[in-house]
């Protein structure tokens, strides 16, 4: 079972938090800080699994994470999950984001908190893996998007302006989340 999903950037700023067990605001932020502290000091070539921090349940839980450009994706899971399976699930999540947002970057996560949450909801539900098929996830998301547009009707107009604004405001920010060909791919024998 997945206990929590944390996405934060290289400075520890949370970009997406999803807890499948209730924690207060204060506890959530502490968990993020603790996890960031544990994960960020690890080199990129060490292994992707480590024991959870004390706040999240200690050694009964594992942190499984991947580091993409500016973002860390951390899943906190118990022993009933396959480590490599979760690692792949992170990849599925990121690839799906990439498809839905066209070259996803950290900014997309910031400006579309809600949409990112919806995509995640198609993959993980109540701490359990719901769907792993990217085509399915994307098509469900697109369906929702269509619904949104048909419902939005007139109010879609100001939204266009917002898009323009986003681009004007933040031109210098790089598209920083490049999709992962992980460094140093070993040729598998």
């Amino acid at each position: 079972m997945i206990k929590a999903i944390l996405v934060f950037n290289n400075h520890g700023k949370p970009r997406l938090l999803r807890f499948y067990q209730h924690y207060t605001e204060e506890q959530q932020q502490q968990i993020v800080r603790e996890t960031f502290h544990l994960v960020s000091r690890r080199d990129d070539d060490v292994c992707s699994f480590l024991e959870g921090g004390t706040l999240i349940g200690g050694s009964d839980y594992k942190l499984i994470y991947r580091h993409y450009a500016t973002l860390y994706f951390v899943f906190c899971v118990d022993s009933s999950e396959s480590e490599l399976g979760i690692l792949d699930l992170i990849q599925v999540f990121v690839e799906t984001l990439d498809r839905c947002f066209e070259n996803v970057c950290e900014l997309d996560l910031i400006f579309h908190v809600d949409k990112v949450q919806y995509i995640l909801a198609e993959i993980v539900m109540g701490g359990m893996v719901l769907e792993t098929n990217m085509n399915d996830i994307c098509s469900r998301f697109l369906e929702q998007d269509k619904l949104e547009k048909s419902e939005a009707g007139l109010s879609a107009a100001p939204a266009k302006a917002a898009a323009a604004l986003k681009n004007i405001d933040l031109p210098s920010l790089p598209k920083d989340l490049k999709l992962p060909d992980l460094p140093k791919l070993p040729s598998f024998r």
Partner: protein
């Protein structure tokens, strides 16, 4: 594929707000902006103008963003709940998102939320149903289980529900079952749920596999049928070349997640017996192993990851089956390759899996071949997580032949090991060196080296243990004394070394006193030179050593007395030190040498028992230990501290008061005194170094199949008799298994929860637990297990089994619990008494004095009364007796008996057919240390029985 043009759709206000925040130059500016926004939203929500759905959605979105930044949100909940009843999907969706992120399960709004979910879950639109299911699963509270426990399974097996709904329903149900496992088993759905494994849609199958996995653990019997279906599904994925896997092929690996799930599911059951199914399964596993040898179809890491995810799970299953030597050895070889792999993740997982393989008799040797590599990993791995696994594996593969090398390597590594894992390593080294010690000089050397290298991480248990062993082994004592003496000569030595040294020299210093380099005075001066640097507890121990020295070496008596009588000791701020110094100096000056010699006689050997270090390590291991097991380990964490047990044999001088006077030895605990910490006292006296007093053997018919049947028998009787006064605790324990009990009784019915804990690392197979009744109970008690008892217990795991019972009429005796299981292919059998005793059905009744005496008189016929006069078995203590009677089921009536020392109680035994009133009076005679116990009851037999049961316990 088309991507979302979502960049254009964002809500404008939201985007502006986020940009503002991002442009803030300082933390203060950010807070200011956020507070401004919060005030704005608050006023909008409170304002007179009703907001349209779009605005609500926008504001709720802002709140979510603010929450993500780490600000608490204390409003907006109601608005979010209102969004749930919107007709627009997007508004509903954001409402649900807010609720599952921000609302805690005990919120006042929950009723309202549940109402909304009820509407959506019966909606004809699948997207709405899905939103509702997601919300139920995300909150996953007991309240949700109660509200939707019936609704969700219907969706799951419905013919009309869409695939995505079924998929969500399966997981939603799983979450609800995890929340309230007792409330639902869905035996009636079992076959329909199992057949979801045959569903067309792979997504549905994947979700269903998760659900069935959990259900199988809860009630294996009902879901047995899933094994053959899972095997055939797996085989279709793994071995077929053409199947239509829809889009579930991930980087050229067919349906990796489903494969992993199925392989996990199969680990819930023993290997299938039907040859065809078994053959198919073995074929699958072989194919998976074969595929690893094929050249990769892609160079992407995702390809090898998912392929290996399946492989590792297959290896876990092979280990679980543990009867296919060929597969085990192949698995081991495969892992061996991974040990040298470039991917750190694979090395990590290979070490982890190999730990399990090391436990199987078929592959243990194959694992040992990799010793060099593992030791190398310990030295060269850059990642502490990986090194930690290497330590675990070394521990697991250690045996007589390689123990010296492995222990040496671990000791060497300990010097530079990460602080986080040192304590665990110390425990491991201590256990290995004890377990595989061929000669005790090596053992003593190793432990002392351990203290030198990592003294700070040597816990109490470790140094207690070395002392226990030295005391019990004659051949180790001289060497130990010599070695600690040498070690103490180092200019700076760890306090733990001083403790061990102090204790051992106090006991065995005479063995090396012949050598003038370690003459009595030299020994004393050496120890005393450390005295002032030590903490009070160590000093107290050293004082005990000094008094022992006075006994061992009369020639230095004067020197020691001077130290004891020094103001530093006699007027020490620490009361314990002061008292010891005073009492020891008196003891040494008043008593004769003979008396002193008897009082300070050498420690008797400790009774053999499970190493407390092992218990501590078990505690550190992440396992799903449940309440009872945890309690037990908590207790073991604080074993009787050795230092307090300077030997004071009880029969020795003056009177037993000297024990208390000296404050040296805690008297054998009278366990009933502390009913608060029930579990603790179960072991309290069993673990005392003082041999447990054989308490009354309540039942003599039991047989226990452990190594030492008699000892185990005594212990289990002892444990059983405690249950007269309490309803939970440990009923039985040997090296392999621990049986915990928790009972509840209400009127004439009861429920007994049995908790079977496997103490070994291996699975106990062919497990069975059956409750039977002797002829004397037939027809008097009805017993029905809630469901079938588990048939196996995984290593280190604990399983539960519940039994319901009903008392038809009065009975004496107790039902039997028979356990059978197989460990290391030897069948074992244990018969225990279940603590279902007539007094469990007794409820206390309160009544004023007048009523009591009236009833007492009414029950005045000779047959209705039983009276016993007996010697007190325990110190006479009114409070303890009260507690005991209350635990027994009686109400103790206050201010009824004119003599305050006397206790009176009353209770009613409730059986299905009758209610039997019982009155009791207990009169102590403190001078004679005697009791008179009178029990009156409307049924004479009951009075007699209760009286007999109680007499042994006062």
């Amino acid at each position: 594929m088309p991507t979302v043009s979502s960049r254009g759709d964002a809500m404008r206000g939201l985007a502006v707000f986020i940009s503002d925040i991002r442009n803030c130059k300082s933390k203060e500016a950010e807070s200011k902006r956020i507070n401004k926004e919060l005030a704005n939203i608050r006023s909008k929500f409170k304002g007179d103008k009703t907001l349209d759905g779009y605005s609500k959605k926008k504001y709720v979105c802002k709140l979510l963003f603010i929450f993500l930044l780490g600000h608490d949100i204390d409003f907006g909940h109601m608005e979010a709940v209102n969004l749930l009843s919107s007709n627009k999907y997007t508004e509903k969706q954001i409402g649900y998102l807010f609720i599952s992120v921000l609302v805690s399960s005990n919120s006042d709004l929950m009723k309202l939320i549940i109402q909304n979910i009820k509407n959506d879950i019966s909606s004809p639109k699948p997207v709405h149903v899905n939103l509702a299911l997601h919300c139920i699963a995300n909150i996953g509270s007991a309240e949700m289980s109660e509200a939707f426990g019936q609704e969700v399974p219907k969706l799951l097996v419905s013919a009309h529900a869409s695939e995505s709904v079924k998929q969500s329903a399966a997981l939603c149900l799983l979450r609800l079952i995890r929340t309230l496992p007792d409330a639902m088993t869905y035996a009636e759905w079992a076959s329909r749920v199992i057949h979801l494994l045959n569903d067309q849609h792979m997504g549905v199958v994947t979700s269903a596999a998760s659900l069935i996995h959990t259900l199988s653990q809860l009630s294996p019997g009902d879901y047995k049928g899933c094994v053959s279906l899972a095997v055939s599904r797996l085989s279709r994925i793994v071995t077929s070349t053409y199947t239509d896997l829809q889009d579930y092929t991930y980087y050229f690996v067919p349906a990796p997640w489903l494969s992993v799930k199925l392989l996990r599911l199969l680990q819930c059951y023993p290997v299938p017996e039907e040859p065809a199914v078994r053959g198919r399964l073995v074929e699958c596993l072989e194919t998976i192993l074969n595929k690893c040898q094929e050249p990769p179809k892609s160079k992407k890491v995702q390809h090898s990851n998912s392929k290996n995810a399946v492989l590792f799970e297959a290896i876990n299953l092979i280990i679980h089956i543990d009867s296919e030597p060929n597969l085990l050895v192949r698995a081991c070889n495969q892992l061996g390759q991974f040990l040298q792999h470039r991917e750190t993740n694979l090395r990590y997982l290979a070490l982890e899996s190999m730990c399990l393989l090391a436990g199987s008799e078929f592959s243990a040797d194959a694992v040992k071949k990799h010793r060099e590599t593992v030791i190398n990993a310990l030295k060269t791995e850059r990642d502490v997580s990986v090194r930690q696994r290497a330590v675990d594996l070394l521990y697991a593969m250690c045996d007589k032949t390689n123990s010296e090398e492995i222990v040496a390597e671990m000791l060497a590594y300990l010097k530079k090991a990460d602080y986080a894992i040192r304590e665990e390593m110390v425990l491991k080294v201590a256990i290995l060196s004890e377990k595989y010690a061929s000669d005790y000089t090596w053992y003593v050397d190793t432990i002392l080296q351990l203290i030198r290298v990592a003294g700070d991480y040597v816990s109490e248990e470790v140094w207690h243990r070395v002392i226990q062993i030295v005391i019990n082994r004659d051949d180790a004592q001289g060497y130990a004394a010599k070695t600690v003496f040498e070690n103490l000569q180092a200019p700076a030595c760890h306090e733990n070394m001083v403790k061990v040294g102090g204790y051992i020299l106090g006991e065995f210093g005479n063995l090396i006193a012949g050598d003038e380099r370690s003459s009595p005075l030299v020994q004393f001066n050496l120890l005393h030179s450390k005295f002032h640097l030590c903490t009070p507890s160590t000093r107290a121990l050293l004082l005990s050593t000094y008094i022992k020295f006075i006994n061992l070496f009369p020639e230095i008596k004067q020197t020691i007395q001077n130290v004891l009588q020094n103001d530093n000791q006699l007027r020490n701020a620490d009361v314990e030190l002061q008292q010891r110094a005073l009492e020891y100096s008196q003891l040494s000056s008043i008593t004769s040498q003979d008396v002193l010699a008897t009082v300070l006689e050498e420690m008797p050997p400790f009774p053999e028992r499970e190493s407390s270090i092992l218990a501590k390590l078990k505690k550190k291991k992440p396992a799903s230990v449940q309440a009872i097991e945890k309690e037990e380990e908590k207790m073991k964490k604080s074993p009787p501290s050795i230092e307090n047990h300077v030997n004071v044999p009880k029969e020795v001088p003056a009177n037993t008061n000297s024990v208390d006077l000296l404050g040296l030895s805690t008297p054998p605990a009278t366990p009933q005194q502390s009913t608060n910490s029930l579990l603790v006292d179960v072991f309290g006296s069993v673990d005392q170094p003082v041999a447990p007093k054989p308490e009354s053997n309540i039942s003599k018919s039991e047989t226990a199949g452990s190594v030492d049947p008699e000892a185990a028998q005594n212990k289990s009787n002892l444990l059983f008799s405690r249950f007269l006064f309490k309803n939970s605790g440990v009923l039985f324990e040997n090296n392999l298994i621990q049986v915990g009990v928790k009972c509840e009784f209400k009127e004439h019915t009861g429920r007994v929860g049995l908790f079977f804990g496997n103490k070994t690392g291996n699975q106990l197979q062919n497990f069975s637990a059956s409750v039977s009744m002797g002829a004397d109970l037939q027809g008097k008690v009805n017993i029905a297990p809630q469901k079938e008892a588990p048939t196996q217990i995984d290593g280190g795991a604990q399983v539960q089994h519940f039994v319901n019972l009903e008392c038809i009429t009065f009975f004496s005796g107790s039902p039997n619990l028979q356990l059978r299981y197989q460990h290391a292919s030897t069948p074992q059998q244990v018969t225990l008494k279940l603590p279902v005793i007539i007094n469990k059905f007794m409820e206390g009744t309160n009544m004023p004095a007048a009523d009591f005496f009236n009833r007492w008189k009414q029950l005045g016929q000779p047959v209705q009364e039983t009276q016993k006069i007996f010697q007190a078995n325990h110190p006479i203590d009114t409070e303890a007796a009260k507690t005991k009677l209350t635990g027994f089921g009686m109400s103790v009536l206050i201010n009824v008996d004119p003599n305050p020392d006397n206790l009176v109680g009353s209770g009613i035994v409730k059986t299905k057919t009758s209610q039997i009133g019982c009155l009791l009076r207990l009169e102590p005679n403190k001078e004679a240390k005697m009791y008179r116990l009178t029990v009156r009851s409307s049924v004479g037999e009951v009075a007699a029985l209760l009286c007999t049961m109680l007499e042994e316990h006062f």
